[in-house]
């Protein structure tokens, strides 16, 4: 891992087209600006981890899941 020290308003250029800049620092919160082409996906790491975790939780082994599904019925109209 490359570790760089930056001050507020200093940036880092990645691959010539992504610029990461430290916008402000307030205690433990750091505001970061990212300038990247629309073709680049930028996601918060913990959000991605949450989605991945939920996906794993949603996985159903077909033979197990159908029992749960059978418990669901539409109420009589």
């Amino acid at each position: 891992m490359l570790i760089l020290t930056r001050k507020v308003e200093q940036g880092i250029v990645i691959n010539n087209d992504v610029i990461v800049r430290v916008l402000s620092i307030d205690g433990e919160r750091v505001k970061i600006g990212i300038d990247a082409p629309r073709s680049i996906s930028v996601l918060r790491e913990e959000l991605l981890a949450e989605v991945a975790g939920e996906n794993r939780e949603a996985v159903v082994r077909p033979s197990v899941g159908t029992d749960q599904l059978r418990r669901l019925r539409r109420p009589p109209q």
């Binding site: 629309r38 073709s39 680049i40 996906s41 996601l43 918060r44 959000l47 991605l48 949450e50 989605v51 939920e54 996906n55 939780e57 949603a58 996985v59 159903v60 082994r61 077909p62 899941g65 749960q68 599904l69 418990r71 669901l72 019925r73 539409r74 109420p75």
Partner: protein, 104 residues
């Protein structure tokens, strides 16, 4: 409800639901990158499903609106899109909204 079944691992399937059933205004902008990689040529190529997380107690069943799966009818490709800037929930309860009831 529909199922997304893994062909690589028959033990893996994901239950899917039409998000518009319980979130009529559900909408988002598909990033150009995703549209391109899915081979979308027009908006009609796309259809959207969200993943359900089934749980023992039916009332606890939730839908993932934060990261829906977008399918391309033309290419049969699909991808999960994380709607980072949206207010949509990762775990949206669906049971009561769909008017479903559990049978004993």
């Amino acid at each position: 409800m529909e199922w997304l079944q893994s062909v690589e691992d028959p033990d893996i399937a994901l239950p899917l639901l039409e998000p518009f059933l319980f979130e009529p205004d559900f909408g988002f902008e598909l990033p150009d990158r995703d549209a391109e990689e899915l081979g979308m040529e027009s908006p009609e190529d796309a259809f959207v499903r969200c993943i359900l997380t089934l749980r023992e107690v039916p009332e606890d069943i939730t839908a993932n609106l934060l990261a829906p799966i977008v399918f391309c009818r033309r290419t049969h490709l699909a991808r999960q899109v994380v709607l980072q800037e949206s207010e949509y929930a990762l775990r949206r309860p669906v049971f009561t909204m769909l008017g479903l009831a559990a049978s004993a």
